[in-house]
Structure formats: structure tokens, C-alpha cells
């Protein structure tokens, strides 16, 4: 009865406008996100100079030929910014996706099956969560220095438990619903029930959770690269650039600011977009 009335009250709100229209901040965030991701993906092919070529005096300021000036070795900052995003975004994406596959399967199974599997998975997760994530990443990075693969695996291990916990809770909630019982009474397989009955209904949770999680991955990749544990120095990489060019902060601040701005814009706009998706999820269905 109460839910009925609430549903009615909600129906009377101007829901339609909220459902389709983007707010100004969401519109700006979406455009910025597309721009930064576009630069990260297509930048390496479009950069005006070879990002590794020495083209002038180190730390010279912006000029007409080099819009953002030159870095510590005299390489073009604009070209390096355009070339330096792909590694960061790619590694963060791979790690986040892998975390969703590993953690997602664990969470769905643990939330739906609830036999001995559930406590086993949850205890394993507790153990993983007991390690401080930064310490764990540092250990892996020092153990296998400059290994992109090692970093991706380590990030996945750090992220997967959180994914599993969130999806387990959502699955637990969804699996008590009548439509899941109806499917079970038809004799559907557990996989059918998970993928066709439950996942479509917790899709919103996944989307809302993926935004902040991807942000954390980007920041972790950036932090490890900044500490010199990611890609090896000659490579163009936003985080590495911030580290390398600290010495010339007064001579050419753009060498540090440009990659820093890219990381900041990427993470902030990603969060605004994720919030927007999350808000819309409450209105729809």
C-alpha cells in the first residue's frame, strides 16, 4: 500500500523531464569526458611532433611552434600529452574490466547460490581486503618493475573484492523477488536466472559503481607511474611527465600542468557522468 502511494507520488513528479534531459553540468562533463578520452585514444596518431624527438632547448616556454613549450629534455609537451594518455586509460580500463569479470562472477554466484560457496568466497575477499591496497600495489610493482601486465593483475586483485561485495548485495536483494522464484519454479538453470532475470535488474548498480571504480584505477595507475613503477622513462605518459618535469615548474609550468589537468578533467567528468546515470536509474522503472 505504502509503495503504491509512493509510486503514485513519484508518478506525479515531472519525471519525464528528468529522464531525458541532461543538466548543464552533465552536458559539460559528457563533452569533456569524450574530449579527453578522444585525445587519449587518437592522440598518438595526431600529435604534431614525434613525442620522443628532441626539438629545442629544455623547458622553453610556449611558442607558436610548440604551443605548450618543451620539457626537461627539450621534447614537445603538446605531442607528449597527446601521446601519453593511451597507456594510462588502457591500463585502467583493462584492470577495471577484469575486476568486473572476476568480482562480478564471484558476487553473482555468492549472492545467488548461497550454499557453502558464499562463505568461502566472502572469506577470501576479506583476506584480500585486509591488505592495504597501496602497499599491495607497491609490492607487486617493485617485484615486477615496469611490467604493465603485473600492474593490471595487481589492480584487478585490488578492485575485484569491492565489485564482488556490491554485486553480491544487489543479487541477494534481487533473488528474493517473485520473478526469480517464478523462474526457479519453471526449472530455469542458475545461469539463465542470473543473466536474464537478475543482471538486467542490477545493471543500474553496476553502471553507478563502475564510474568511481574506473576513477580509482586511473588514479592508481597515475600514482604508480608517478612513483616510477609503471612505464619506463622515455615513454610518454601523463603521470610520468608530472614526475619528470617537476624541476622546471617555474620555467615551463605547462609541462606539469597539462598532463595534470588531463587526469583531473578525466576523473572529475567521469564522476559527474556516473552520478547522472545513477540519478536517472532511480527514476526509470
Amino acid at each position: 500500500m505504502t509503495t503504491l502511494v509512493l509510486r503514485e507520488a513519484r508518478a506525479t513528479l515531472p519525471a519525464r523531464r528528468r529522464r531525458t534531459g541532461l543538466t548543464v553540468s552533465e552536458w559539460v562533463a559528457t563533452s569533456l569526458l569524450c574530449l579527453v578520452l578522444g585525445i587519449a585514444v587518437f592522440g598518438p596518431w595526431l600529435s604534431p611532433e614525434n613525442p620522443d624527438a628532441l626539438v629545442g632547448v629544455p623547458y622553453s616556454g610556449p611558442s607558436r611552434t610548440h604551443l605548450l613549450g618543451l620539457d626537461e629534455l627539450g621534447r614537445d609537451v603538446l605531442s607528449r600529452v597527446m601521446a601519453g594518455g593511451r597507456a594510462v586509460v588502457l591500463l585502467a580500463s583493462v584492470a577495471t574490466c577484469a575486476a568486473y569479470i572476476v568480482g562480478g562472477v564471484a558476487g553473482l554466484v555468492s549472492g545467488y547460490v548461497r550454499s557453502w560457496i558464499d562463505p568461502v568466497i566472502m572469506r577470501v575477499i576479506d583476506v584480500v581486503l585486509a591488505f592495504p591496497p597501496i602497499l599491495f600495489l607497491l609490492v607487486v610493482a617493485t617485484g615486477a618493475p615496469h611490467s604493465q601486465m603485473g600492474l593490471a593483475v595487481a589492480l584487478t586483485i585490488v578492485q575485484a573484492p569491492g565489485v564482488a561485495r556490491i554485486l553480491r548485495t544487489a543479487t541477494l536483494e534481487a533473488s528474493t523477488r517473485g520473478y526469480v522464484e517464478a523462474a526457479a519454479a519453471r526449472g530455469e538453470s542458475p545461469w539463465y536466472i542470473l543473466l536474464r532475470e537478475i543482471v538486467p535488474n542490477i545493471r543500474g548498480v553496476i553502471v553507478a559503481d563502475a564510474g568511481p571504480r574506473f576513477t580509482v584505477s586511473i588514479l592508481a595507475v597515475a600514482a604508480l607511474n608517478f612513483l616510477g613503477l609503471g612505464q619506463r622513462p622515455p615513454a610518454a605518459n601523463w603521470a610520468l611527465m608530472i614526475n619528470e618535469n617537476q624541476g622546471g615548474l617555474t620555467a615551463n609550468p605547462w609541462a606539469v600542468l597539462a598532463p595534470a589537468i588531463m587526469i583531473a578533467v578525466l576523473t572529475i567528468s567521469l564522476n559527474v557522468v556516473a552520478d547522472g546515470v545513477n540519478r536517472r536509474r532511480d527514476v526509470a522503472v
Binding site: 500500500m1 505504502t2 509503495t3 503504491l4 502511494v5 503514485e8 507520488a9 513519484r10 508518478a11 506525479t12 513528479l13 515531472p14 523477488r177 517473485g178 520473478y179 522464484e181 517464478a182 526457479a184 519454479a185 519453471r186 526449472g187 530455469e188 538453470s189 532475470e197 538486467p200 535488474n201 522503472v285
Partner: protein, 593 residues
């Protein structure tokens, strides 16, 4: 007589300007109980809350006055209204379990309220007398309990005690007995009537249960689409209503003393945005004429203290009670389902809790067997065991002579097809991400050999069979009303062409007129398709209207078994007699058409 409450011309709108409640006027005298009845969406809860000067977010009061104890509420500032609420006019919410703060002890709940409104008077004797008034213990042990340590009936009594603690003039009760079983419900109803009489409090009792209203109220107001359509003395109005909607509502109430075929009201209730011009009920009304669509009829007095909003009120038909067309006796094909010594439990180890004890019964083809009991009697668990959703801890289930595996996955496809279940809550038994057609296609895919196009045609046939228009096929459940959803759930079960249909409280989440329509549909289908049905319900009126045989359950064990007439007219067991006596009865006129 002094007026404790007077509402004039109340109008509540959504922020978009659509009227939720229009032109509602009410009054209450000392010690009087007014019943406010209507189906979901009629605006009865909105009116109830407006009596406290409150509206839900998204709504606003745009016109009218609400006078309580001589004080106009709507003109007051919000902080002044807050001082009135609880002291001059108080509220008893629908779901006591959710309304009580779970982290505050019983004694502190009362003390907190008294400190707020009557500073310095909240002595322990005051708290004790507030509890005693509603027949709750006032021992120190009880005062230290948390709400979750009380039973549902005790929780509801506590909300009554809270509402009456500061001696208000008016109490607004919003469906206070909805979630309770019949025995507790009848006790609470008697309590409400007694308290109002003794304390000289006036009360507004909001409900959708017409029979309950007859027990507590002296006057009745019926709401439809945001307006009061009829108002008058309770007993007379329930026997001979003058508005066609009231008449339809009364005809929809299943009575356990009068087994009959329910008539219900054609069509569906209108929503807030799409109320027709003129009389809002005219599209569903059998006596409407062109004049009905021109302007809203005025509330006209037909007798002293009795007014109606219908221009053809002289033509309103008497309440119809059709006799049941009784099904021919069950075939001689033997027992379809046998339940032999069934035991079922929840939990493990020390927390193991047995809910079904040694239950044995059978269902023959073509019959409708009702399983009746209060909440916690294990009736739903039995259905879940038969459907293969809960593994029994002992006993045997046989279907057509064949032993049933405990889990649906372990059963043959043929057995799964032949046993189908319809669930209680239509708001969650359909996947919100699947369209109606997708929900109906899946069982066809699983259980029949139909090709894609044949299946699609079959979906339309199924919709027609449950009296739904074909255009709903591509709608999502959120776009359907409760009654429509339940019909889809029935169609999904029928898609498998079952021999046994398990109906688990299928009408308890529905409004009474919708319930009548769904019950009528089920008994028609049962006859047409020669279905065997196991019908689980706590409502004895529903039993009288659909079942052939009844099993009465108490705490997981069968108390009594017999034909509908035997059980409802001549119960042998004490428990059954008590259960029957607790059902609030609707005053009925003599005739059976």
C-alpha cells in the same frame, strides 16, 4: 453537539497542477468515528494526511480549510502546525512495524512524545496509564523492550497508545489493521471503537475494508477519483447504497456467510492525470447517460445525513449477490496431487524452525482446494514445497502417482509444466525489465513446441483469456495496474497449460473490486480448463467464493478439513469457530438474486 473537526472544500494538487483531491468537506462530532473508504488512488490517504495539515512531497494544498478543535490548521505556519500534530490531532500509521523507531524503547517512545507536547507531565504513571488504556502491559520489562520485540498486534496497539497519549481531539487512523491477521484485526477494531467512545475522541478511520468499517464507524464517506461520492450512516449505506460505485464496492466484498459469485466493477480506476470530465465514475457505470459527462454532479442530500454525488441515484441497482454456479463434482480420475506427511522447516541447527508439521491431503482434478490460516500457519510454505521452491524436511509429494523431487530443477519438464504457481505480490512477480510478451513467451519456449510466430499468436490468445487487451503485450510491468499485473501472472502460469495451479494469496495485494474481478476470472478459467487449484488465502470470504473444499491450518498442522459449507457454516473445531467469529461482517440485505 460540538464539531471537533470540520473540513471545507479541500483541494490538493500535484506540483504540476493536477487535482488529487477536490472539493472534500467532512465533519466530526465528539466520540464519532467516520469511515473513509476508497480504492488505491482515490485520494483517501491524501485526505487523511491533510487533516494534520500535511501533504506528501510533490503535492500541495491549494484551497480549503481544516478546522480541528476550533483551530484552523492550514493558515498556520509549519512550526505552529507541528505543535498541533500529536496533541490536538494525531495519526496512526498503516504499518506499525515500519512507523515505530526501531532503536527507541517502548517507554521512551511514549515519554519522548509527552515531553514534546506536555512538558512536565510525562511521569511514569502517565506512561503506564497510556499503555494500560490500549491493554498493553506497563511492567518495567515491557517498557524496556524495543519495537521489534513486540508482536504485530502489540506494535499496532503501541501506535494507538502514542496517538492517544496527549489526549488529542481527533485521531486519524490510516488503514491500521491492513497487515494484521483476522483475530488481531478484530481485537484492534473493537479497541478503537471502545477508546473513541470512552475518551470522547473523534476519529477518521481510513480503510479499503468495507466490513471492518461496519464494526467501528458510525458514518461512512466513500471516495472515488479524489471526491467524496457518497456519505451517510454506515449500516444503511452498506445495505442499500445510493451511488453506483458504492453499490459496486459492496457487491465486490466476498462474504463467508454467503457464498456467491462476485460481480465486481467493470473497467479500472482512473489515475490522477486522466480523470474524465463530468462524473469520474461514468465510464464504468451501468446507469450513466449523456448528462453524466456534462459537469461534475453536486453532492445532493437524499435523506437527512445522507448525501450522494450522482444525478441518477434513484436508479442505482441494489447490491447484487449472484449464487455460485457450482462445478460438477470432481472426475473419477483419482488424486492428482498427494501430500503425505509433509514436514518443512527454515534455518539450520539451533535456529531451525519447523513451520509445517505432518500435513497430509490430496487434490483431485478439477477441484479448488482452499488452504486457510493466519500468517505463520505455514500455508505458503506448503505451496512452495509443491512448486519445488523449498525442499521439505520430511514426507512425500506425489503428482499423478509419481514422486516429486524436492527441487523444481530435479523434476521432469512435463511435471514442471503441469504444476504452475501464481504469487501473492504482482508488483514483484513480473520482471520489471521484461515486457508482458517476453514474460509470457518464456514458458511457451520452455514447455511447448510452438514456433516463434505460433508462440506470438498464443501470447495474444493468453492475454485474451485473462481479459487483457492485446496492446499490453509490449508494455512493461511498471505501466500496468496491480490487477493487470496479476492477470499477466495468471496468463504466464496458463501458458504452460498446467493441470494444477497453485495460487498463493493472489488477491491479497489487490483492491476489493479488482479482487472480485480476478476471483471471477480464476473460477471461470478453472471451469473452462478443468484446472485443479490449490488456493491459499487468509480471507474466509474469498474461500466461500472460489473453493470446493477447505483445509484449516494452525501453526503448521491441519486443524480441520471439509467442504466449504461444512467448514463455514458448521465448523467443528474451536480454532475454526474462533477464526470465523473474528471476520468482520458486512451488514447484508436479505435478497440473493
Amino acid at each position: 453537539m460540538s464539531r471537533l473537526l470540520e473540513v471545507e472544500d479541500l483541494r490538493v494538487e500535484t506540483t504540476a497542477g493536477e487535482a488529487v483531491v477536490e472539493g472534500v468537506s467532512l465533519y466530526l462530532d465528539v466520540g464519532e468515528v467516520l469511515g473513509l473508504v476508497g480504492e488505491s488512488g482515490s485520494g483517501k490517504t491524501t485526505v487523511a494526511l491533510a487533516l494534520l495539515g500535511y501533504v506528501r512531497p510533490g503535492l500541495r494544498i491549494v484551497a480549503g480549510t481544516v478546522c480541528v478543535g476550533g483551530q484552523e490548521l492550514l493558515g498556520l505556519r509549519e512550526d505552529e502546525r507541528r505543535r498541533v500534530r500529536g496533541r490536538v490531532v494525531s495519526y496512526v500509521p498503516q504499518d506499525a512495524g515500519k512507523a515505530l523507531n526501531p532503536s527507541i524503547r517502548v517507554g521512551d517512545q511514549l515519554k519522548e512524545l509527552m515531553d514534546l507536547h506536555l512538558p512536565g507531565r510525562s511521569t511514569s504513571s502517565q506512561v503506564a496509564s497510556a499503555l494500560e488504556r490500549v491493554s498493553l502491559p506497563s511492567s518495567r520489562e515491557f517498557l524496556r523492550r524495543f519495537p521489534h520485540q513486540l508482536s504485530g498486534g502489540q506494535q499496532q496497539r503501541l501506535t494507538l497508545a502514542l496517538a492517544l497519549a496527549c489526549d488529542p481531539d481527533v485521531v486519524v487512523l490510516d488503514e491500521p489493521t491492513t497487515g494484521l491477521d483476522v483475530v488481531t484485526q478484530s481485537r484492534i477494531l473493537a479497541e478503537v471503537a471502545r477508546l473513541c467512545r470512552e475518551a470522547g475522541v473523534a476519529a477518521v478511520f481510513v480503510t479499503h475494508n468495507l466490513a471492518a468499517i461496519g464494526v467501528v464507524a458510525s458514518r461512512l464517506a466513500v471516495m472515488y477519483a479524489g471526491r467524496i461520492v457518497e456519505e451517510g450512516p454506515v449500516h444503511e449505506m452498506l445495505i442499500a447504497p445510493t451511488h453506483p460505485y458504492t453499490s459496486g464496492l459492496v457487491s465486490s466484498v466476498p462474504l463467508h456467510r454467503r457464498p456467491g459469485r462476485l460481480v465486481g466493477i467493470p473497467g479500472t480506476a482512473v489515475g490522477v492525470g486522466d480523470r474524465p470530465s463530468g462524473c469520474a465514475f461514468s465510464p464504468r457505470c451501468s446507469q450513466s447517460s449523456d448528462a453524466c459527462t456534462h459537469g461534475v454532479p453536486a453532492l445532493v442530500q437524499v435523506r437527512p445525513g445522507w448525501s450522494v454525488r450522482c444525478i441518477h441515484s434513484d436508479r442505482t441497482p441494489a447490491v447484487v449477490r449472484l449464487p455460485r454456479d457450482d462445478q460438477e463434482g470432481a472426475g473419477d480420475r483419482g488424486t492428482l496431487l498427494e501430500v503425505i506427511g509433509l514436514h518443512a522447516a527454515y534455518g539450520r541447527g539451533l535456529r531451525r524452525h519447523t513451520v509445517v508439521r505432518n500435513v497430509t491431503f490430496g487434490v483431485v482434478p478439477g477441484e479448488c482446494l482452499a488452504l486457510v490460516g493466519e500468517s505463520g500457519s505455514g500455508k505458503s510454505t506448503i505451496a512452495r514445497c509443491i512448486a519445488g521452491l523449498h525442499a521439505p524436511s520430511g514426507g512425500e509429494l506425489r503428482f499423478d502417482g509419481e514422486l516429486l523431487a524436492p527441487r523444481a530443477r530435479g523434476r521432469s519438464r512435463e511435471v514442471r509444466r503441469r504444476v504452475q504457481i501464481v504469487f501473492q505480490n504482482p508488483y514483484d512477480s513480473l520482471n520489471p525489465r521484461h515486457t508482458v510478451a517476453e514474460s509470457l513467451l518464456r514458458p511457451l519456449e520452455l514447455f511447448t513446441e510452438l514456433s516463434g510466430r505460433q508462440a506470438r499468436t498464443r501470447v495474444l490468445e493468453l492475454l485474451d483469456q485473462v481479459r487483457l487487451p492485446a496492446r499490453l503485450a509490449d508494455h512493461y510491468p511498471s505501466e500496468l495496474s496491480g490487477g493487470e499485473r496479476q492477470r499477466v501472472a495468471v496468463a504466464r502460469a496458463l501458458a504452460a497449460a498446467p493441470d494444477l495451479l497453485l495460487c498463493d494469496e493472489v488477491t491479497s495485494a489487490l483492491d476489493v473490486s479488482v479482487q472480485a474481478a480476478v476471483l471471477a476470472l480464476l473460477s471461470e478459467l478453472q471451469r473452462e480448463l478443468r484446472l485443479a487449484m490449490l488456493f491459499i488465502t487468509h480471507d474466509l470470504g474469498v474461500v466461500a467464493n472460489i473453493a470446493n473444499r477447505v483445509l484449516v491450518l494452525e501453526q503448521g498442522a491441519i486443524r480441520e478439513e471439509g467442504s466449504v459449507e461444512e467448514i463455514l457454516q458448521r465448523p467443528k473445531e474451536r480454532y475454526t469457530q474462533e477464526l470465523l467469529a473474528s471476520v468482520p461482517e458486512l451488514p447484508v440485505s436479505g435478497q440473493i438474486a
